[in-house]
Amino acid sequence: MDYKFPEQLFPSFYNLGPPDSVSGFYAGSWGSYDRVRPQGGSGRLSSWTLTAKHQPRGESWRHTEPAPVPLLSPRKDLENQRTALTSASVGFVHIQMENFFLDHCYDAFGCMSDLLGEKFDFSGNKKTHRRSDSVQMGHVKRFLHRMNFKICQQSYESVKMKRYSLLMPDVVHVVPPQLLGSLLHEELTDRRDGLLFPEGTTGGALAFVPFSPQSDARRGCLVYPGHQGLDRLHFHKVALQHRRGSSSSVDADGSPFSFQLKGSIRQISCSSLSPECCVGVRSDYFCGVWKFSERNEPRLLQVVETSEVATCINVSPHILGEVLVASESGAVKLWTVGKGMQAVRTEDANLYFNAKSPWRWCEFSAHPRVMLYADRTGVELTDVRTNPASSHTLFRISSAAECRSGERLVLSRYLGDAHSFHHLVTTQYSAYIMDERFPGVPMLKWDHMMESPPMSCHVVPGSSPSGSGEERTTKVLLGSHFSQEITMLQYSGGRAEACSSRGPPQALLRPRESLKHLPVQIPHRLDTATNRLSSPAAGLTCIQKKSGGDECLCVLQLTAAGDIFYQILEPEQPDAETSRPPAAEDEPQHQQAASAEQLPPELVVADTSSDEDVIGPTQCVQRVVPETPERSPMLSMDSEDSELESKSRYLKRLALQVVVNNEPELDRGSDLEASVKESGNVAEDVAEDAEEPNRVEGTVNGSSRAVPPRRRSPVKLSSSSLVTWKHWLQKLMHVSCDRKSHSQHFQVQTEGLLQLSNRQASEKEHVQSLREDLKSCMSRRSLLVDGVASAPLRAPDVVPLPNQVDEEAWTDRLSRRLTVSWQGEEAWRSWWKEELGMNREEKMQALRRKRRKEKEAKRAAGGRLKLTGSFTSSVSYQSALDDLSDLSGWSSATSQMGWSDREGRRMSSQVDDFWENATPSTAQNAALTPTPTVTPTATPTTTPQKAKDGRGDQQTPSRPPTFSSSQKQTSYPTPTGPRRNKRSADEYLNSLFASQV
């Protein structure tokens, strides 16, 4: 039916000329219909149906997993040059020049070294070859030897070398450093541009050839580059295991059939003319063709070497053994394998305007002798039969295709599988479907909205409604290089109906974003994994399965590190969404659990032990840590756990529904929180190891129940994928560890420098026994309890405590203060109050009260009032006062009835010093105090008491004073110093406390 041309096309203007230079904001083609056209017209108005060019609804395809899954275990790759080369700064150029001087020293210093070499003696042996006219250069040799290691330049600097470099910086170089630097900078800039947009990788280096495409495309051969530097071609038989509702996977069993090539593989082009399949492989200067079939092993047919860099290879979909090769010189050759090459077209310049690009591309078209020739400015169809070849424009960057200024063609692809006359042309902004029967006007245009331009593409042919099953749109998958994006575009039509795009572009998953779906990694592993996963994409292909209701798409993506990731998409079933009871939704979980149950537990155990072998003993210890990355997948692998988990999910959903529906009046936020809590409790009762994010997700789903729920992509990886990921990451660590051990470091012997003599043996033994304990604990799934493990280790570590400090023995002021300060801030504060004499009045009042009571008691006893009695009582009062304030040490000053100004100043300066040096917080005091016996635990218990005491002190002045002011003045002439200082000191203290509190 491909021969039918649409009866009516969508109307459009045909504008010739360069694209409009209207710059500014561009919003894509979202939300618009673009054009409509009547269908089945000339009937009644009511029977008119219209079709839009951009139809808002397309098929919705859903991921079965939230992250792509690695297909193969990771292998070593070359050092990731990407990060290094993205910066071509001056400092970076210096490093590169240094490397050049070291690696190609003869090129850098050859001439001068020939001249100077006679006079320099590098043997380093002073005694044997002592010549009078030669300079000893032994230290230079040592210096150069040290350059092999990464060392600190400061500590290993050589004064002699500095002198040399000062003496002859301008004579030793063959190429002057300034010139070399500028050339290198230019080169590095070019390289960086090349890495950001590597033209060579256009087309992609991943292909899948299905065996027997008529029946089912589940089995086939995956052709991909592997090994370090992607220079080994692999043919790997793979099979897609997929059953709707259960976990799907791609099996890549058996070892691949591989060929070692001379250069890294840039593009792989496949065409399956069953039963034989032809594979064209392009590296920079070599192109090769292999042939294989389901039964026959891959066989190399022919290899050609190109004089220029080859930019494109394409295997004919019509005739086996015909290959088109384009190279940078602008020559396109038709290569009939075994017969030779025929030049098809040669262009020195770009087609339509000077885009300054040597990149050329070629494709086959619907006619076996009409080729498509493309560069950055457009596409031409070239008829090979005539000589010189006649050609006409298929597509050009112009306003006819509504291009934007600056738009350049990035990739062109013949969509022979989907429609024999259709070509896909992509630019950095848009994707166009061109029909070669109507050249010049795009049949369809999308804005693909990708970050970086699409470098590879795969088309999944759709099916017309007349065929078996429902109508399926044609899907175009575009893959970019640097950002790893895959975008799926859908369109239908092209035969009896005009082409129309369906739905918005859909972004598929990227490997670099998969880490967030995996258990948390230890930082250094995270770095390695992130680097590896974010290496740019290098190819894209798809396995399609279209048998009945079990339809699925498996999208495979190759990264530059040589890893292949796959993601499986299923069509969303609209009827299942609404009618399906919640229990049915859990069916897959149960199935999964059941399948997990069938797994023999020995398998799992064997698995872990093998992993431990891979990782090495250090990883063993880490396994006990609960956050260890691999632990949680292992848990969920357990059959009981997964069953519990599925149950818990179901219960969670139920709990959510109840909570949300019963309390509609509640505040939304608290409602949500409550439901989270409650669901969490329920979940925890059932299964203790349920994950937190899942729980929250469930709640959100529950609360937005008012809208008909659309089935979303799952938020959690299935257990089998988690296991795959776990193995992959472990292998990756192993591989990257291997690489690290190769790198050289300048080693300094530190053995025995900081070790005690006799403790080594016991320590080792102990660690050994601890490991054994740990292992036994792990096997018993019990905790490593303190008593089992740590007691023997702790014993020798006991440090003898210093003797207890007798507080009474230390009676000087400082010791007393420090002792008090151990009892907390209140005690310390009161001590200072006492010391500064701020509570003197209170004390005096207290004493007066006491004395009055005594007097009253005597009076009540009936004793006569004696003069001597009164006299002695006043003396006793004085002594009592002294007794009371005896502890403070202040009393001595008080009893002397005088305070010299000098003394007061000294005192206050002491206080100042104290404040400067220490703060009254207990922690600080603990650090200051020389008495470690005073345990810090005492502090909290004493503090409230002191606080109470303080309150008691404050209460006392509320009682009415009974002494007259005159008596007070005569009896206690307060020294001027303290009185003057009292108020200020009080404020001072308060302010200090305020700052403390």
């Binding site: 504008n15 409509v36 609804r57």
Partner: protein, 392 residues
Amino acid sequence: MDDLDRELGPHGAAEDCHDSSDDNSSKGGKKLKCPVVNPIFCLGERYSVCVCVCSYYMKTFLTIIWRITTEILHHHPNSTMDDYNNVYERMKHSGVRHHLMICLEHAFHLLLHGRTEDAKLQLSAAESWRHGKESAAQHQRTKLIQAYRSLLDYAIWCDKKLTSSNNHFDSDDNQGMQNNFRQASVNLKETLKNPGVWDPFILSYVDMLEFYEDHEEALKILNEYAYDNSFPPNPNAHVYLYQYLKRHNASEKKLIRVLKILHALVPSHELMLDYSAFLLDSENKKDIEKAFGVILEMLDFTCWRTNMDIWKCLKAIIQKLQIQEDWENVVCEKMAARKDWWPALHFTSFQASKDLEENPELWEVKASLAKVLCPNQTLKYTAERITNGKWT
């Protein structure tokens, strides 16, 4: 304040104040209460700057807001027609630049949901909308709006035509039809002068012209559409002309001429079967050779390779050729360019097995032709290989 002023300065300066300070945008700007614009009102009395800034924001984000809103509505499960109307109307009146495009999209939305009358109202309103100096893009949009309005006129015209043919002839209906025709034809004629792809419009215009028996005009329009070099090489243009000529019993010569040009453009077109049939009918020796060439060329293309009709047609032509004496030379001449790749394209052992399995009749036809077309080559297009069952 000064910082803000400095920040806003470039926007204000970059935008052409006079161009954008129309009623819509200034009104919308002052009404706007979004957090982005709010600080602007701290600028005091400098409302002209405010207007510039607002219109800048409007211009920049209007399109994207509109596109995202409609896209959301497209996918929202509970979106209603009122929501759409609301969005379209609001967006239409908040900017000048995209007014016509949004009008057109609104009309399309109404059309796709069967509200032809509303769509026609929308289009009529948009048709008379003018603002400032008309740019090229604006001009084209106006033309497109007119054309779509005319298409709806044609739809109504068709409706009336059907009712009047069912009932007896009614002068009122006739008058209405005439009106519709007049309205449609003015715009369509104007639009069709612009180079472009106008398939639906051409068909409707020609249909109306045919009804009023204005054959001259119809033929002129179709010829221009097909042969004007400023138009893109649309295969449908030739198809429409051919179909028109065929409907009106044009001479075979005229038909062949149209098909010949189509053959040069699209050698794989379906109508090439008609072309070869015409050529065969002519009984001219040259024409039979031509027909042979046409069919061979069709068979070059992937899509015709397993088509039974075309192989049968080829067989018929060869049978006719074989009457001639030097038929072998003719075949050799035509096959000379193909002899190195036709066997690999059509006559492989795998294809033999596939054809035998799927369509034994086709296999028979092809097998009989194989020897004729490639006489000196050993072909593997036989039934024997299949009995062995082994593929190499």
